[in-house]
Symmetry: C2
């Protein structure tokens, strides 16, 4: 069942100065839409993990950010289906039935500016969310949506300090405990 | 018909140094998924428009980035349905049937760090893509997906210099004309 699937993200080629916010958005989008961990590759940057930790403390759930120097080793040793999101890959919706059935665990690989050619070889699928250049964050959101079939919009995030009561106007935030 | 709808984006509170890449991702995600223009508010930043123009020249289609100093005037005078994406708003899927039926034109409003309270009042809908903090880029992608019903994954971008032929491995880019 797809709902028991563990979904993790591999963020390639992080550059501390240039990518800090984009990489944090990748992690937060992953967290909000059902992933449980992001492996950070490229430059080590504890600020990303710290930002995400603060979000989990406030808003609940758990999401790890784990630095890995050797992305090739991670890709080679990962016990699950590996999907690389790239504008050059095969259309999202064509391969999704296969990907959903593939395994209990899934690693979604997103690059930054330049992705080494080897990545295309080491993954099980190279998947495009349109063949236009846009954003790894947008691509990740749509990939997780198709993977989790819309259930990612209704997840529980237990253990936070605050919770939002949805409103037509303004903000309604309840403090918990 | 939803497919004739003109969809535009209003990016609030852009800060040139801090938001350059995030705002560019907002524009590119909007472009790739069916929007035709982004109004840029906050600090003026011609680089965003230049980046997007280069993408259109290479990959086709048309997408404007237009700077507007006065976002209040823009919101007040916009002839169409205005939807603000915010984690505090009403769930995406609950309001979507209404939003899709609302008008020929639609303005999707996304903020950066702090969104003035007035925005919540000046729009027709405050909509949340989950009530968790994540990314205006991920939220925009899922909003456009639900709005356009998946058709945004199959758009044509006429007039570019190159086109991708989707591949399971590697890259296949054809030069046009």
């Amino acid at each position: 069942m797809v709902f028991n699937m563990k979904v993790e993200i591999l963020r390639l080629g992080h550059r501390k100065l240039r990518d800090a916010r984009i990489t944090t958005h990748v992690a937060l989008t992953g967290r909000a839409l059902g992933a449980s961990r992001m492996y950070l590759c490229g430059e080590n940057d504890p600020n990303v993990g710290r930002s995400v930790k603060r979000v989990c403390e406030s808003w609940g759930g758990s999401f790890d950010v784990v630095y890995r120097e050797d992305w090739q080793h991670l890709l080679k040793s990962y016990a699950g289906v590996k999907v690389h999101l790239t504008m050059y890959g095969l259309p999202l919706e064509d391969r999704m039935p296969e990907i959903r059935d593939g395994s209990a665990d899934l690693l979604v690989v997103v690059g930054s500016e330049k992705v080494p050619g080897k990545v295309y070889e080491l993954v099980d699928y190279n998947i495009s969310v349109t063949n236009q250049p846009h954003s790894e964050i947008g691509a990740l959101a749509l990939f997780l949506d198709r993977l989790l079939g819309g259930s990612e919009l209704h997840l529980d995030f237990p253990g936070g300090k605050r919770r939002i009561i949805p409103q037509g106007r303004g903000k309604n935030v309840v403090k918990l405990e």
